[in-house]
């Protein structure tokens, strides 16, 4: 199996630790005056998202994780889970609710998401950084109030709850940042 030795360590490499895939999210090189170098890595578990600290010394190595990532298209959701399709090969993939996690909040027909596969098994889903969704319910807009500092709750077509400015109406299409769930801007009026 391929592996990374300490001289290959850097942010972004994917490694296998205790039988699970990890992403190196930080790497510090430390060296005492006349002593041996220590490589301090922060590793993020690609399945659970948990971050662990590990130390390595010159010459140590970690197994590389067979991780690949590509873009697939959302098809539908049913009792067996979430279904996606590769846009070119039409190969279909089924992911559980746990694997899809928070990304489920932003899935609608034909949404393209990045799926991470580990040893050919899908493990996580990353939605696009921003999605455009239609507002399906919110209290009527306050007349003449175009200020963005007055906020109100809204529900969008994917079922997610967000906070929008007071001037947004049902039927408006809005852009949302999927990492924070924050409203970005209005795309079109309903």
């Amino acid at each position: 199996m391929a592996s990374y030795s300490t001289s290959d360590f850097k942010k972004g490499i994917k490694v296998e630790l205790d039988g699970e895939p990890y992403l190196m999210v930080e790497m510090d090189f430390m060296k005492p005056g006349k002593g041996q170098a220590v490589y301090r890595a922060k590793l993020k578990n690609l399945i659970t998202g948990r971050v662990v600290d590990r130390n390595y010394r010159s010459g140590d190595s970690i197994a590389a994780a067979e991780v690949s990532e590509f873009s697939v298209q959302y098809l539908y959701h049913d009792a067996t889970g979430y279904h996606f399709m590769h846009p070119e090969s039409y190969e279909q993939y089924q992911l559980t609710e746990e694997q899809v996690g928070d990304a489920a909040k932003w899935l609608k027909d034909e949404t393209k998401v990045d799926v991470v596969f580990w040893n050919d098994r899908p493990i996580t889903v990353t939605p696009p950084q921003q999605v455009q969704v239609e507002v399906t319910y919110t209290e009527p807009a306050a007349k003449g109030n175009t200020a963005t500092n007055v906020q109100k709750p809204a529900t969008v077509e994917t079922g997610a709850q967000i906070t929008v400015p007071a001037f947004i109406n049902i039927g408006d299409v809005v852009k949302v940042d999927t990492r924070t769930g924050d409203y970005v801007e209005r795309v079109s009026k309903g």
Partner: protein, 323 residues
């Protein structure tokens, strides 16, 4: 995107620090010297990796050449030739060292003081650092022994401990153990504890000299025997805000002992699967000819600029990062 490397403003501050450093040594009648950066024989250290280089016309031999990891060898040869006190501000090269405070090509300020011991030299290091950044160093520097630090901060006596006891201290202090830690040498285990848990706390209240290392970490320092029989390397390091700035020795003058330590460093390299390096025979010869009793120190000039200008990466104080 911030520009790669130091801002022009930082480079001006850096140049001012260089100028003040030269004034400091001129006022004390320490001679500025320049010595070769390329050499064949090396002051071999177990954990320093020189950068090999191919040189045509350096000599008729086919011996390998390296960019030196520090100017220590040539400067001691000058001392043996009767130079008196000398200093040098020069590039140094160390392969494989890259991080927030490391870069393979960096600037070293190294100086030697005949007639000084390591305590007299610490006083001069303190005078220089305080002259260069008075606002950052209002108080006198602290001196603390390696033994006291480990006893107080980690609950172990570094002169009488075991890898198992160090592993337990690492666990208490939240330092993850690297693979195969149980097979570590005692010094490698102490080093992990030092960089993992202790160093970040050093020199926070005021700058700190860590002094009197275990004899096995003396490198090229003299070793003295304490009344209780422990053997102590007369070596010091300076820390400010958790950053290691300088390493100094009451210099070893015995050529046979010098050769033994260089060979020991090579043996440690071989034991960890790395090739031995050519030993600086010219340095051993200089010691045989007679090195005056002296103390010497190497200060990481880039790190000093980091501390003086409030930057936390070495790239922020050098014109360009390494290509």
């Amino acid at each position: 995107m911030p520009p790669e490397g130091a801002s022009i403003e930082t480079l001006r501050a850096r140049a001012a620090l260089v100028a003040r450093t030269r004034e400091f040594f001129a006022a004390r009648e320490v001679l500025e010297v320049e010595t070769p950066l390329i050499g064949h024989g090396l002051v071999v250290e177990a954990h320093l990796e020189p950068i090999p280089c191919a040189v045509r016309g350096a000599g008729a031999d086919s011996l390998p050449r390296h960019l030196l990891t520090s100017p220590e060898g040539p400067m001691k040869r000058l001392l043996a030739r009767g130079s008196g006190p000398i200093y040098q501000l020069a590039p140094a090269f160390r392969d494989g060292e890259r991080g927030a405070r490391h870069t393979p090509e960096f600037t070293i300020l190294e100086w030697y003081r005949p007639g000084f011991d390591h305590h007299a030299l610490m006083a001069e290091v303190e005078a220089l650092v305080r002259a260069l950044m008075p606002e950052r160093t209002p108080e006198a520097f602290e001196r603390r022994t390696y033994r006291d630090l480990f006893r107080d901060a980690a609950g172990i006596d570094p002169f009488d401990t075991s890898v198992a006891a160090i592993a337990a201290a690492c666990a208490r202090l939240g330092v993850p153990l690297p693979p195969d830690f149980a097979a570590s040498t005692l010094d490698d285990a102490l080093d992990l504890l030092l960089v993992g848990a202790l160093e970040p706390t050093l020199g926070r209240e005021r700058p700190l000299f860590l002094v009197d290392y275990p004899a096995s970490q003396a490198a090229l320092a003299r070793v003295r025997e304490e009344p209780d029989g422990t053997r102590v390397g007369e070596r010091f390091e300076l820390y400010i805000d958790g950053v290691e700035l300088a390493n100094g020795y009451h210099e070893l003058g015995d050529p046979a002992e010098q050769r033994r330590r260089l060979e020991e460093a090579n043996a440690a390299r071989v034991a960890s699967g790395r090739p031995p390096l050519p030993i600086a025979e010219s340095l051993v010869a200089a010691l045989e000819a007679g090195l005056p009793p002296c103390a010497g120190v190497a200060l990481g000039f880039d790190r000093l600029v980091m501390v003086a200008t409030g930057h936390d990466t070495i790239d922020a104080v050098r014109a360009f990062p390494p290509e």
